[in-house]
Amino acid sequence: MERMAETIFDIRDIRVTFDTPDGAVEAVRGVDMHVRAGETVAVVGESGSGKSQIMMAAMGLLASNGRADGSVTYRGQELVGLPREKLNRIRGAKITMIFQEPMTSLDPLYTIERQISEPLRVHGGLSASAARRRALELLKLVHIPEPERRLKSYPHELSGGQRQRVMIAMALANGPDLLIADEPTTALDVTIQAEILGLLAELQHKLGMAILFITHDLTIVEAFADRVYVMQHGKVVEEGVTEQIFTRPTKDYTKMLLAAEPEGHKPPVPKSAPILLDADKVSVTFSARGGLFSPGFALKAVQDVTLSLRAGQTVGIVGESGSGKSTLGRALLQLLPSEGRVVYQGVPIQGFNRAAMRPYRRNLQMVFQDPYGSLSPRMTVGEIITEGLLVHEPGLSAGQRVEQAMEALKEVGLDPAMRNRFPHEFSGGQRQRIAIARAVVLKPTVIVLDEPTSALDRSVQKQIITLLRRIQKSHNLSFIFISHDLAVVKALADYTIVMKSGRVVEEGVTDEVFERPRSDYTRDLMEAAFNLRQVLSRQAEARA
């Protein structure tokens, strides 16, 4: 963006404070930012950096305990402290927003038509029939298949990507000057993310509005933005033209963010390594039995998956949401009923009930995605870590258990003195370390890791990856690493399985799969994850 267009959105020394029971918390501490007409600006930062709260403050959407000070002007009009009626003339018309959660941002009780029409009728004074015509135009504009039918649909009948398209249609309804997109693709699969970003770029090209893009994902920033603000702890630490930020960052924090992409790779294990876990044609079917007067249904979540895990190996399972990768992980550990054959160290454990599985559980551990939900909030960290020992080593004294807990905490890089604290006192990354300590303390041979890094910021992710590598070496562990995040799998796994709709579409040594993908699906996945920029520019060329 060479020519200097006029500044339409100007943020000056904005501060956002939340009153909490523990006193006032400053989420944003004096930020200056501006957006020129037609420009694409990215605000990038990790969770808690305050990047979203700036926009909430500007749009009058802060939670009731939040307060904004400073100034936000839209074409000279001050927005902070503007009475609601006046603010309502700007938001939804001149400045519009799309949000991260496509599942919940639309009202589940009303049709798509009604929800797109409301801002049209309120701001543009359109009649019901005129609004319907315009809503249909908008759905066509955002390339929703069968737009006529979709008008009558409810949000739950649409996929995540389609819902985000509907949000974009709503955002465009009144011809905005500025579109604020708050992590609009974070909840979507990479291929859908590429489609949505492509759509935004296309619409910007066609309609000329400015886009303010809030994200934690540098790949998107590089592919999409003209200019970048980097935020940390409620302040802007660096700003500049995208290329400059990516090639010549000046601040340490920016450098750290750029270097936080997962790196390294794992050499394959020798063919002679013994097979620990062998699964043959594993299938999982979810079904609901029909009632007296209603039919049942069956859904094949996993179909005929065969894999083997050797000692010291990490098998990565990648796939988009709904591909059955997590279900497969649970089926391998006999956490849900499945068909096929699973053998652990020569013992066919397939179909074992809870009692029969118990002796094997300590060897076959699992770490879950959600570091907030998977630790009991009413137990101390020490109790959480040693709970498994109560079952598997009942002979241990309380003192010995504490010793083991301290040992395990040290091993995952936490202070052993923390064992008496409760999970809520820890950050997401620390909690995931606790979950890993809980698995490691039992000295297992196999750990199934189900998206263990997906809820974490990239910089924290990198630390967890390093940790997993270290404990794998020191304990000679074998991992099954389930993730939608290709970069993490590439760094950690030596063998990769790509799943789609419950089936394996491709598998092989990680380097092979990533360098020379054979199936179209894998290729699309790789492109969308690693070459987003090329994908978007190809889309742009196709339009031109």
């Binding site: 749009m59 009058g60 309502n88 938001r91 949000f99 009303y110 309120v122 701001h123």
Partner: protein, 307 residues
């Protein structure tokens, strides 16, 4: 939808059958009989009575006999109100109970949602606190306290309204009983709506509505209220069944000819057929209102389907 309703009604037949069977035998297990009085009847008279009402037969035979009559729509003669059969008693009392209960339900729904919404919109203000306090009061004070108080204040001291009586169903006579019946329901609905409204106002889609500059009345009235209604709807189904089948306390204190009192009188006097009749009526109402709730739920929430 028609098919669904039909399936549900067919599915209710086994339920009703179980209710009838359980109540029938429970009644017979309870000590005493319909003709036990303080002064025992002459043996010959008792024998005759027992023969007339088939009480001399084995219980399973009485049961089959009752089922046979029931299948023909005959609820049998009342043991106590000897000039009436149970159908006649219910036909006289039910309209009274339904009118009172229906009005109380309407009041509960309207007043409850308005109060709950106001409290939610002014969360943690004095308005919110007073609604919550009044609601707690409404739930805790029993109707046998409220009814005489209302009757005393408005009927006796102020002479604004009749202190009791049905008066052929004239509106003045209904005011106090309806208020008594509605008060706890208003309180419960207000609390339910307040809670779910607060949650709805915090939801992402309400944030979307705000971000798109929709006026507050639309955000509250269109987007938040519909979601906030859902818990109140599921509560009101069973509550409606209870309201419409009459209240013995309210009917006794205000002297109203509803069916609520039959249940208690019938039970105390071992009036087997009358108790069975009221049990069946209540069971039918519960089944019907649960069905209505499910239909309403599906109408309010498109994610709910009939299957």
């Amino acid at each position: 939808m028609f098919g669904y309703v039909l399936r549900r009604l067919l599915g209710a037949i086994p339920t009703l059958f179980l209710v009838v069977t359980a109540s029938f035998f429970l009644m017979r297990v309870a000590p005493g009989g319909p003709f036990d009085q303080e002064r025992a009847l002459e043996a010959k008279v008792l024998e005759n009575l027992n023969r007339v009402f088939h009480l001399d037969r084995p219980v399973w035979e009485q049961y089959l006999y009752y089922l046979g009559n029931l299948a023909r729509g005959d609820l049998g003669p009342s043991f106590i109100y000897r000039d009436f059969n149970v159908q006649q008693l219910l036909a006289n009392g039910l309209p009274v109970s339904i009118q009172l209960g229906g009005l109380a339900l309407l009041v509960a729904l309207l007043a409850g949602s308005v109060l709950g919404t106001i409290a939610a919109l002014r969360q943690n203000s004095w308005i919110d606190y007073s609604v919550t306090a009044v609601a707690t009061f409404g739930i805790t004070v029993p109707n046998f306290v409220v009814a005489p108080l209302l009757s005393l204040i408005f009927g006796v001291w102020l002479s604004m309204l009749p202190a009791g009586g049905w008066g052929g169903g004239s509106p003045q006579n209904m005011v106090l009983p309806v208020i008594t019946l509605a008060l706890p329901q208003v309180a419960i609905v207000a609390r339910l709506i307040r809670g779910s409204m607060i949650e709805a106002l915090r939801s992402d889609h309400v944030r979307t509505a705000r971000a798109y500059g929709l006026p507050t009345r639309m955000i509250v009235g269109v987007h938040a209220l519909r979601a906030a209604c859902l818990p109140a709807v599921s509560y009101l189904g069973p509550a409606a069944a209870a309201l419409l089948t009459g209240s013995v306390v309210v009917e006794t204190i205000f002297g109203l000819p509803g069916i609520g009192r039959y249940f208690v009188q019938g039970a105390l006097n071992r009036d087997y057929t009358l108790v069975m009749g009221t049990v069946i009526i209540i069971a039918v109402f519960v089944v019907v209102f649960n069905l209505i709730v499910d239909l309403l739920y599906a109408a309010l929430d498109p994610r709910v389907r009939y299957d």
